[in-house]
Symmetry: D2
Subunit: 494 residues, 4 copies
């Protein structure tokens, strides 16, 4: 059904980037559960700007509030937070909508099960959700959203196991794909990651070490920093952590110990540079990628210029390794907002310039190396190269801090269909011509693995999910396989 009860606001997003679909946050054991969740979600805002929701529990009732737009726009008022009492809360920010938008797809999703209320916040994507949904509807289940996450709830609701935890594990055994989950029941909070840990989830602690402290779960460590929580550890792939209302923490491993395959793109682009992931500083890894890139593809140039802001750490690494000066040759506006009507006269590339303007005084007459994190469709890269030339750059060498993005992601990242990916359509030389750069180079896949501290990629058993670069998907993709034609190979331009 197409429901127009609530207006979806159009957002101006960095249209030529891969988009993370979600960030999740939960806390149990503090009277400030909802305000803390709002703050934590705000620190995860880069993971999803379209909508936000928070659900809390006060020992009796669940309370929920959702909205379109940013955390600050929906959850900064005392009135909004007063509607979310309790010592346990979980929240969700999300990037974009699959299926109909509208508030009913905004998470946490909630259901009154026979065992009581059940709330769930999900980062990732269930790759057999359509398949499972068809079965459930056949048996009489009524879905209220178009979210893949709701499948999990119905599987829990209809499971025949006696305890909620067993029902939950029973449900998870049926789903395939990527998921980091934070759930709430009247008994407490459950956090878990899919068996190979594609999407991240960390645990923190707030307050006294022993009794009386609060437990925090979040997609990234930066959310722990902002709420003042101490990092405890990452949730392990396939681990399920239960925290009851008294603060007691139990760990379960219902899926045994499969090899982990966390998403390597979190290091390249998604995560905030001040987060730690897999024991590494994201900022340091990005600088290391820049250094690898300088070693692999040094350009004969006068300066290194980052495409702000995501290219900055790699550019610093490239500059330090190459000895070239690091300069802000592109200035990013802090005031982006919606797309403007373009004047028909004159204002060439105004849509790019209102976000990124060339610092003409710096680049005029200079040979520059531009550092960006990735190329998706290539359209923005083309405009940036053109903008630098119009500002007087003598040569423009583009260096990319990831391998070519040739494949779509089916694990909760908003990627264009494969035929729109520049790297799926062209080889590197053709891509360089398309974006009109004097030269173009990508870091190698091994260079990327070296930057995260490994000797290189173990091709027999890769240490990360790098499907967007390699096409090697670490799980089955049932729904995709059932839709024919989506897996057709894309023909490359050489």
């Amino acid at each position: 059904m197409i429901d127009s009860s609530s207006d979806a606001t159009p957002w101006d997003i960095d249209a030529d980037k891969l988009g993370e679909e979600c960030g999740i946050f939960g806390v149990i054991g503090t009277r400030d559960a909802a305000p803390m969740t709002a703050l934590g979600l705000h620190a995860l805002q880069h993971r999803g700007q379209e909508a936000v929701g928070i659900t809390s529990f006060d020992g009796q009732e669940f309370y929920s509030r959702r909205g379109i737009g940013h955390v600050a726009a929906n959850f900064s008022s005392a009135e909004a937070l007063a509607e979310l009492p309790g010592i346990m809360a979980a929240g969700h920010v999300r990037y974009s909508t699959t299926g109909g938008s509208g508030l009913r797809n905004v998470q946490p999703l909630f259901a009154d099960l026979a065992s009581g209320g059940f709330a769930i916040a999900h980062n990732g994507n269930i790759s057999n959700a359509m398949h499972l949904k068809r079965d459930l509807v056949q048996k009489g289940a009524i879905f209220q959203s178009t979210s893949d996450t709701e499948v999990i709830i119905h599987l829990v609701a209809t499971s025949r196991y006696p305890t909620l935890l067993d029902r939950f594990v029973d449900a998870l055994r049926l789903v395939e794909g990527a998921y980091a989950l934070i759930c709430m029941t009247p008994a407490g909070m459950i956090a878990c990651r899919d068996p190979i840990g594609i999407r991240p989830l960390v645990m923190g602690r707030l307050g006294p070490k022993g009794k009386g402290g609060a437990t925090v779960f979040a997609s990234e460590t930066v959310a722990l920093d902002v709420v003042g929580a101490e990092f405890v550890r990452e949730i392990e792939p396939g681990e399920l952590v239960e925290v009851d209302l008294d603060g007691k923490v139990r760990s379960h491993r219902p899926f045994g110990n499969p090899s982990a395959r966390p998403c390597i793109f979190e290091h390249v682009y998604f995560s905030r540079p001040d987060s730690r992931m897999g024991g590494q500083s994201v900022y340091q890894v990005r600088k290391a990628i820049g250094r690898e890139l300088a070693r692999e593809s040094l350009a004969d140039a006068d300066m290194v210029i980052p495409v702000p802001d995501s290219g900055v750490p790699a550019a610093l690494g490239y500059a330090q390794e190459s000895g070239l000066p690091f300069e802000l040759g592109i200035i990013r506006s802090h005031y982006v907002g919606r797309t403007f009507i373009q004047p028909s006269d004159g204002a060439r590339h105004a849509d790019v310039k209102r976000k990124h303007n060339a610092n003409r005084a710096i680049v005029e007459g200079k040979r520059i190396v531009l550092i960006d994190d990735s190329i998706v469709r290539g359209t923005t890269s083309l405009k940036i190269v053109q903008m630098m030339r119009e500002a007087g750059a003598a040569e423009v060498h583009m260096r990319i801090a990831s391998p070519p993005t040739e494949h779509s992601c089916f694990y909760g990242v908003d990627t264009p269909e494969r035929s729109k990916l520049l790297a799926a359509r062209m080889d590197v030389k053709a891509m360089g011509e398309f974006i009109q750069a004097d030269s173009l180079a990508f870091v190698s896949i091994d260079g990327l693995y070296r930057a995260v501290g490994l000797a290189g990629r173990d091709n027999a058993c890769p240490q990360f999910c790098d499907a967007c670069f390699s096409g090697e998907y670490p799980t089955r993709l049932t729904d995709l396989a059932e839709r024919e034609g989506l897996t057709k190979p894309v023909e490359k331009v050489a």
Copy 2:
């Protein structure tokens, strides 16, 4: 769960009246299905002012739009209606909220069943809804609203019968209480009334008699008038009428032929005076009640004054029968809106006066008969009597165009709990003293039955549901029986 995602606007309602809970309207067979539904619901606005929703179907997809407030505020723009394409639409206005409010309780409710989309608009109340819901949740059903109507959808979804119509009848066999329903499936529209026809539902026809016309269903005939449809007939108690997309109409009688017990209060207050119900003009019946009242309880007075607007027809009947002049001694404002902050100085009864002001020039020094349709809590009657005295009335005789309202309604009418009903707490003499009238009289129950054209009430087998007067409920009240204490007798003040 308490969901504050959307704000419920508080409404200023005629607080001391019984409130109808819903009006429904559906049309199939016209390209203007949604605009016509908006217009039809507007004509039924007196049956529910809190929220409104319309769902349409264009042969492929269902479309839905709901809002808080009036039909005109939500469905008068071309943009709003453009979101509801198709040749079939159904809508719902509702009065007040049982359970949590918010958009998710606004009807038509919709679900994607295995057989396709299913939309339902309901006027009435399922008196065993809680009981059925408990069972369904136990089996894994997830409810998305707190509406009793959703029970019907889950019963349809989980029925094992092969066709949708059989599943629907299977579901209705399990529910008890009052319901007039308009449903939509990809195959067409289904309208039905509960076995004893407590709530009203009429059928009309628009356009050519043979092929090509549209079929309309509505709670009252006034909605047919406004959209230009011709009245065909009432849906019979226990009848289920199916209209397919080609306009073919089939009638089913799955419940046999139980005796009808339509709500007699529709004649007294709920329906618009320009509607016809049970073959009678509502206006004429109200005038006839006034005439009965004049015969039974003539007052020695100078003029007859209606409490506007619902008391007007009965007052005309009383005046015509008694020969006393009919005068507008109370002027009703057309601009009611929300309750105002009351100034602490002076403005006595300002809350009543901003809606109803005494016409002092008329009533000063006069003995007046006030005619009102009913007394619920009695608080407004008291204020009106006081207002007339302050305006100089010499005597105030109150006559009520219904018997004393002693019992709550469990069939979709918003009544206060029994202990708040003045007639449940006092006899007529004490009520007259409470409202400070010089005399008070109600029409007798037989007088009321005479006014609708019968010889009187058949106490062995009453022709109407008059439970609010008699306490004789024509169906089982399972949920009420399961909640203890609500059936405790209220002690009367004599």
Copy 3:
């Protein structure tokens, strides 16, 4: 300048009536000045529905709040009223916009003069406003609104007299036309009426008779009733009443004693029936008009039916005089709101019917007399006659409780230009054919004067302003005279 900073909401108005342009209310001497003003304006809402404003003064500062729409929508919250502290407040409701709309034309207008703050609320129209404005702008005055009222403020600001009262009288001597004004200065409140008293203004008193009570001014007595104030007297034509912050009242007569010419249409349509005006009950005058009409133009019919609501008192008078029964043959909806999109199929006259529906059961096969207050363009009358015929009326006789409206009003009433007035284009016979009535008659001008208690119209020196009927304007119309072509005679169809 065309300012789109604030959106004007379109309103659904009774499009074929003359529209009063304003209602004003002021109170001094109560801590509840703003809440009382809100309540008083609400009682005057029928005089203007487009916008509303209130200004208050707390002894130090003036506070102002304005909004588009109804009083209840803008001033019913405690928050809104808390922004308007003080013991003196004045407010304004207005009907429609001359010139650009938007909040800056919403009254009370306010200016910081050299003597301190000055707020003004105006009911009426300055007929030489354009002329005066041209002069003022030439001298350097900067207008912030397109309202004629602002001329008065600039005249006060630039007057050379020493005291504010002298400056104010100096300003009023320069303006021509109709005005009832309520002004506030740091010293207190000033209320006044133009020399011939075209627009009404009454004074009331709240609280103790001696010291300590509050003084109230309002366009109609109904506003006094609603706030609980006692009627003291009308402000005399040409009188200026000053009330200081201690409650002391002074009356001034700067214009001598010209003959009064109050607007007679206030009795016919504008005022609420429960108001008193010129010592007469508006309701009783309207009934008397109905009686005159029955005497002058009795129709051979079965019943008398009012066009609701404004035709009701005249219809009661007509019925009482003629002995014909009074019946509600047209039912008015209480839920009007905005205009709906009209379905293209079937729904003939849906725009009329959603407001006024024929009570078919009553009128079918009957000869009816319809009573309405006036005919402006005639389009609505035509639709109502057609609607009655479609409902089965055998004959439709239209009787109008005012003489033909042949001329535009330039005194603050929103009339269409003369060429749109049906009575300016046709004689009565042609009008009757246009509206398709079996007969049409208007009350005579002398009948109207008799209904207000006079022997008849004194043609040498008419007792009322009846320019809309007679074309005899009691003041100069300088702006009109300066615009050529607007005074061209309209040719009548015989």
Copy 4:
């Protein structure tokens, strides 16, 4: 008067920075005048985020639209821009409100003068506005805003000179203080700067060199870049440039040739780094300040860390000069929005951290030099130093890229009153202790002048307005002098 008709939204601003009060933009000679102005203002959004307005002229009428909030929120829709037709438009963004807020203070201000419409957008502050206003009100002028800019309009309106240009110059001769102005009349556009050019204003050209191009005026060159205009030159101090509707440009010098004193703080903080000002790249000047700072106050440390984003260029200069590595030790969130409710548990410094988070992996155990552009109240500096220590920094040395801000600005920059300025209350040593830094140093005033390319400050005749550092105000401050007590010296803590 305190007007609450429109709600002012509270903004979360970088509370401990000096705030520029305005940015202005105008264009004449293109059919896209309003869309181009929206885009230009967006590029100037850093100069004012509170409110925005655009006025256009289509040869006949002026059109205006204003709103609270960002340019993108108010002027990105086609509907909004369609309300602003014409080939000439001017707009204004503003930072904060002096006096009552609300839409009526949002510029461009507009008045209908005897000579026709007159619109004005102003960056700066009239330092004798109160004095002039008092005179004007005495003569009958009515002010509609509390903006100092309106004084100019009334002076023009009441000037006795025959031509508008003469009236405008006559008005400007009476005002003192800082102003860059863009005005529109029915004849064209006028841009001018005050005699000593305190606030900046540049001219650009769009389209063909000869006939047919458009002329653009803007506060900074970055706005020219974004709309695709070519930089022509700065408007000279005391120059008045007239452009008529045919594109003809005339320059006037009504004030002779006083020595220029442009604001030096534009280089330090206000302007965007990609703007050019006074022939210098703002980015290069900031880097040069960083280099001066490194020469003057080298710290023995491991790395240089900018306080983002304004400290970045100076930090790059400091790093290049000192040879220390430049690292992003503080990560700034792109999603700031409103202030959040602070959880009472744990979340120490959450208000700072939600904007700026320490990059713990980088700073832990390190001696760091923090580079910021200025210290105003010192509260944010303190929190940042504490945040770095909590993240494990071994030593924190603060270096400031401007001299101590000891004095308030009266030329259109939003500064706290002098007693709130940390540098007015303490010497540098005490300031360092207050912010808990291991060392604190400011660039010298001569170092600052060297960075802009001069040999140093000419104390006899300073080349810039540096009153905020030196207390030497280059104009009279009449209003300040008339308010006693504001000039009292602040006592310093040593």
